[in-house]
Every structure is written in structure tokens, then in C-alpha cells.
Symmetry: C2
Subunit: 149 residues, 2 copies
DNA sequence: ACTCTTACTGATAAATATTTTCAATAAAGG
DNA sequence: CCTTTATTGAAAATATTTATCAGTAAGAGT
């Protein structure tokens, strides 16, 4: 049997997710998904729009916004906040995970470790807060950008 | 000698900082500073504008944006990103610190502990990234909001 | 296939949010 | 005071995000 490449597999998985949640599989949504799948960086709605329009020229920008928000609600992508530009999204394969982002090229590495439990508990005790969530992003340079100078 | 309360002290310190960096001490800037000092929450430019205008009605919104950015560059305040609204600022007394934010009332607790060094080093080794900075926010409910329900 | 329902779409407008420009003003130093 | 020039606010220009709405097409049922 012919083996699907990772990207195709992932696409199928995403479309299944949509179906599983009662959403319809439409051309515009497919175009958005295709535009972002397999891209190890993060993208702003405008960029997604540009790329997705190449496969589906009639696409509207609003639909990009809506689709990105939808995919995020399904947990397939996650929003990241950058120094410049707070609405970027990136692939999110893990349930709980964080991002290590290259400031030069935007490349994102996902990771799930975060030794915050101790800190969180200590803080909760000290402040009386109930701590419900944490946001963590690491910023730096990827290997490729490091050698590039 | 009469003791200054914390807020007055802090105001003096801020104005000194401005002077020390060659910036002028102007009425509009003072108004902005007064509007945010002593407030343990976080504020959006528009809110600062509203409050500062009460002591200096002629204030322009642009100046609020500019002043907040300036204070941030001086390290006196820090930007925080919320689920809704990515441009909020909060007091920052420590050089390196993070925020624990109440989702209900916006109250912010500053803290400087973060046991991320291990994780960071491990990740750097694994990914080849040079990790230069991290961004961390804890979200939850403050004691007051917890009892309020 | 064909029909029906309605989720989904894109165009448009509206609402927000941010940045740029620029002539007038006032802070700070002499 | 006087001079210099950093700073200001109004206004315009951009940029970003959300709300409306009539038309369209996905998917379920036949
Ligand atoms: Mn975590
Ligand atoms: Mn943000
Ligand atoms: Zn890179
Ligand atoms: Zn609270």
C-alpha cells in the first residue's frame, strides 16, 4: 500500500477533525489548511490569505480569520505572540506544549516540557491566587539562522 | 522628616529616570505616570488616556502610546498580553520578572522566580537553537475574586 | 441524481487599533 | 528672558479585526 507522506497524513487528520466536530469540508477551508500544513514557521492571517489564494483565488480574508480561529479551537494550531504582531499561528501537535521561536526566520520548535509546577505551587501559596494556566514562549535563533550570521 | 508614601516615592523615581535618560519632564507625561502609578492591575492605552485626561484634559491619545512605550523602554512598566487585548502594560519593579494575572479583575502579581534554566539548556542542546529570551505569564484568579465567586 | 436545509462564504461596511505627519508649544539650559 | 529643540496634539493615513447580509454550496436524506 502506498505510504502517505506526513503532510498528507496530517491533512487527512485535520479534515477528519473538522468532520468529527460537525463542520463542513469546504474548498476555502481546504485551501487554508493546505497553505499552512507542513510549514514549520508561524504565519499571520494576511500571509495565510496570500498563500491560500494561490490555490483558491476566490478566497476571502474573513474566512482566513474564521478558519484560523476554528483550527485553534480544535487544538490543531496555536496562537503565538511576537514582539511585532500578536496574531500568529503555528502548528500544535501536542495537547500541552509550548513554542521555541526563531526571531530571524520565524521557525518554530514545539516542546512539552516545562518545569513550572513547583514555581506555580509556591506562587499560589504565597499569593493566594488560583493559577489556572500559563503561557510560555522561548525566543532565539535557529541553527540555520545562526550559521547565516 | 515627613515620609513619602510609596506612590510618591515611585513617582519621583520615575521622573528621575526620565531626566537621567535625557527626556524632558512634561505635564502630559506626568499625567500619564500619575494615572498608572499605584495601580496593581494592567491597563490598555485607552484606559490610561481616560484617566490621565482627568488631571490633564488636553492630553492626546498618541502621547499616551508614546509615553507607555517610553516607560517600557526604561524598564518601568512591562507589556502583558491577554486573551483579549495584547497591548496592556503593568508596573515592573524588577529587572527580570514575570506576571501572575487575575483573569477577573486584572490584578497583577510580579514574581521573579522561574525554573526555566534547565529546560532552556536541554532544549538548546536538542534543537541547536540559541535561546535568548523567554516570555512567561501565569493566569488565574486573585484571592478577592475567588471569594467573590 | 435531485432536493432541501442551513452552515458557510465573500463583499462590504463598520469598528478598532496603531502609526505617521507636521506645525505649534513648552521644557530645559544658558 | 532667550534659544534651542524635544515633545505635543490634531488630523490623516494605515492596519487590524469584527459585524452584516444575501448568495452559495456541503452534506444529509430521498
Ligand atoms: Mn507548560
Ligand atoms: Mn500578544
Ligand atoms: Zn531561523
Ligand atoms: Zn481578581
Amino acid at each position: 500500500m502506498p505510504e502517505l507522506n506526513g503532510e498528507e497524513q496530517q491533512k487527512t487528520r485535520w479534515l477528519d477533525q473538522l468532520k468529527a466536530h460537525g463542520y463542513r469540508m469546504t474548498r476555502p477551508r481546504q485551501a487554508v489548511v493546505e497553505a499552512i500544513l507542513g510549514d514549520p514557521t508561524h504565519w499571520r492571517p494576511e500571509q495565510v490569505f496570500e498563500r491560500a489564494r494561490r490555490t483558491y483565488p476566490n478566497l476571502g480574508l474573513v474566512t482566513v480569520y474564521r478558519t484560523l480561529e476554528l483550527l485553534q479551537k480544535l487544538g490543531l494550531i496555536r496562537r503565538v505572540h511576537m514582539e511585532r504582531g500578536c496574531r500568529s499561528y503555528t502548528l500544535a501537535s501536542q495537547e500541552h506544549s509550548h513554542q521555541l521561536i526563531c526571531r530571524d526566520c520565524g521557525r518554530v520548535e514545539e516542546f512539552s516540557e516545562c518545569d513550572l509546577l513547583e514555581t506555580v505551587e509556591r506562587l499560589a501559596k504565597r499569593t493566594g491566587y488560583s493559577i489556572e494556566a500559563h503561557w510560555l514562549e522561548l525566543l532565539g535563533r535557529c541553527p540555520a539562522c545562526l550559521v547565516a550570521g
